[in-house]
Symmetry: C2
Subunit: 414 residues, 2 copies
């Protein structure tokens, strides 16, 4: 891992097919923000854009854009670039606007059971440095989590080197029930404390504004800001990890549910009175698809030759690849139930696309062609395209950075 | 049916607990509409409101509200009412603003297999007249549907009597796949034609602007504009009729799915390889809950003493009420699967409330306490409150009228 921080890589962290970052949306979806903020966000989203196109995209007169742009230029929040591509003949080339990346940085942090990761990006969303912090796989108190955040952050600033712009905010995510709006952590599988004001605790320790969210929403933010979801108004991100997560985007913005704790696709029921789930209920999707569900049936498939704990799933997968029918049957059933889960997302939410994301994507039985081929037979209408997005491990940190940028913008422009 | 149209009843059609109509939302959710439209909609939603409170609710200065209000008053779109409740002592009482109901009317039409219904409301959302048109239960062409629309409309205007303000628009809904944005009908169980530009066809026949939607979305609009959803940002409406419908509200606005044809809760899978559904797939919620699913098992429960077609479901229900264990078992299984379906809506969408609505609510086995008590054991988090809303038969027409009002507003203010 680790980036070459000398050359400010602009694309290799998957900033997508457009030079900017943030949702690509028209003015009609831009909400009730002040025009000043709409201008700044539209420029960031476009990468580089002329004043004329900016006014057109926002459906306002060029005259109303001009003074606000001048103001943003005077504050060093935007800058002007000569547009050589439009330069024909003599004279000054036309200029386009860009977000001044050097005004500051934000850090995206993803906390996990066995490794934390972090990414520093500038205000235009370009990655500046990254860092990881391996750790022992256990449940810890919030206090020791804060120590780890501090250590991870130190690695990140060290990787960025001296002379970098100031860090203006932190986005932080982890698995569990975390309310972005209030900053509260209700519970997390990697933390022993319950009902903690996580955003306030991290902010007090680090002396910076902090936004928090769950890991499925970080992936959703990464897709919405840097990935395949940039130009989609409504889509779903499904993550298969330790559990099964779901993130929804409605009208170019993350939808976090009516209670703020996110969606629980993993605990939708795919079989009444079905297999027992970790949560204590029966027939949950996770009870067929998650790690523990696959491992549960491994002793039979592996015929007693059980590898050490923590290695069972990989052994099972290798056996399936080698033609062990019982091992294959375990993955195939999981894939069928996953197809039911995805079909139910399509039936209930009707997204324009479903993006499968996360590190378990390496168990390709779960998204085998047979599984994907089953989804249309489980949805009434033509199902949305289902894509597999095999990001690198920094995807969550990238989503956390998008979260920080998104929440920073109103403060920055205030 | 039929209203006393002489006295302009203001509340008996369930206009809810607030005197206005439309979503009760704050300025932050009001989207990118011009302030003029935000003002008009806020006044309609409030019923009556002072200029000062209006500016406060919209989070703008009183100075920016004043000229726009004057303009709306000059155009007879708003009017002023003395607020006697705030009148202490001498002098003129303070005035509040209201939407001028007399500027025009809109018609809401619900087309159905055995009876069409219609409601005329003024611009403040108050019902003015209603009408119904019984019809033979068969599938018809769009052409003969248009004849029926014309006949229904004639009854409606006759019920309103002479001297009513002009009708400015029509909202129309029916079961099926109908795209509100494009006005197209993809298919409907009551129409033989497929892929028709329904809004244009009705508009050409009636000479008025027409908005169309499916019947579940009409119920959702009725809840959002007149019912229990007025003050809720995110909620779900589940209808149990001929099939099982779902309407979602996100951020005080109807969410119609990424493809515009609405959600298909009835075809979410509650049992892999389960009971055969009308749609040809297996394990759909409808295959356990809809009329045809209940009737399918009736011959055994009724022991061969089968009533005439069309009366089977009622006979089955009566038998269950009389203690016939087999008949009870049919309703009880349906209720358990309905609980699974509602739990999956809660898990995937996390609404603040689920409202059960529609005429099949009379089969109270389906929403018996036992069923509702099962939902928490099927959701990971505390499930949202589940309410049963037993509207009268005009609820769909009321939703259609809300649809017409909602789409009329920008035209009216243009």
């Amino acid at each position: 891992m680790g980036l070459d921080t000398s050359g400010r890589p602009r694309t290799e962290l998957g900033t997508g097919d457009a030079p900017g970052c943030g949702p690509l949306r028209g003015a009609r979806q831009s909400g009730a923000q002040p025009l000043r903020q709409q201008i700044y966000e539209q420029v960031r989203s476009a990468g580089h854009i002329s004043r004329a196109v900016l006014a057109k995209d926002l459906e306002v007169s060029p005259g109303s854009v001009t003074p606000l742009v001048s103001d943003l230029l005077a504050q060093d929040l935007l800058y002007e670039v000569p547009d050589e591509s439009q330069h024909h003949g003599r004279g000054r080339p036309p200029v386009t606007l860009g977000v001044n990346p050097g005004r500051g940085l934000v850090a995206g942090l993803k906390l996990s059971d066995h490794e934390h990761s972090a990414l520093l990006v500038d205000l235009a969303g370009h990655p500046v440095a990254s860092a990881t912090l391996p750790r022992r796989d256990d449940v810890r108190s919030v206090e020791s989590l804060l120590d780890e955040v501090e250590a991870l952050f130190a690695r990140l600033t060290e990787a960025a080197g001296p002379g970098t712009p100031p860090i203006l905010g932190i986005g932080l995510g982890m698995p569990g029930m975390i309310d972005h709006a209030t900053g509260r952590l209700r519970w997390s599988p990697i933390v022993s404390d319950r009902d903690v004001d996580l955003a306030a605790a991290v902010s007090a320790r680090m002396g910076l504004p902090v936004s928090v969210d769950n890991d499925a929403n970080l992936l959703t933010m990464a897709e919405l800001w840097f990935g395949r979801g940039r130009s989609l108004s409504d889509f779903a991100v499904v993550t298969i990890e330790y559990g099964v997560g779901l993130g929804l985007v409605v009208d170019h913005a993350p939808y976090r549910g009516g209670h703020g704790y996110g969606m629980e696709l993993g605990h939708t029921k795919v079989q009444l009175d079905g297999a027992l789930c970790r949560c204590g209920q029966r027939g949950c999707l996770e009870a067929y698809v998650a790690d523990f569900a696959l491992v549960r049936e491994a002793p039979i498939a592996l015929d007693g030759a059980l590898p050490p704990r923590g290695k069972v799933l990989e052994a099972l997968y290798d056996q399936a690849k080698d033609g062990n029918e019982a091992a294959k049957a375990i993955f195939e059933r999981a894939a069928r139930y996953l197809a039911v889960g995805l079909a139910n997302v399509a039936n209930i939410f009707d997204p324009r696309r479903i993006i499968l994301s996360g590190s378990r994507m390496r168990y390709d039985y779960l998204y085998a062609e047979e599984m994907l081929a089953e989804v249309p037979s489980l949805t009434l209408n033509r199902p949305p395209p289902i894509e597999v997005n095999a990001w690198d491990d920094l995807v969550w940190a990238r989503g956390a950075a998008a979260l920080a940028l998104s929440d920073l913008t109103p403060r920055l422009l205030a």
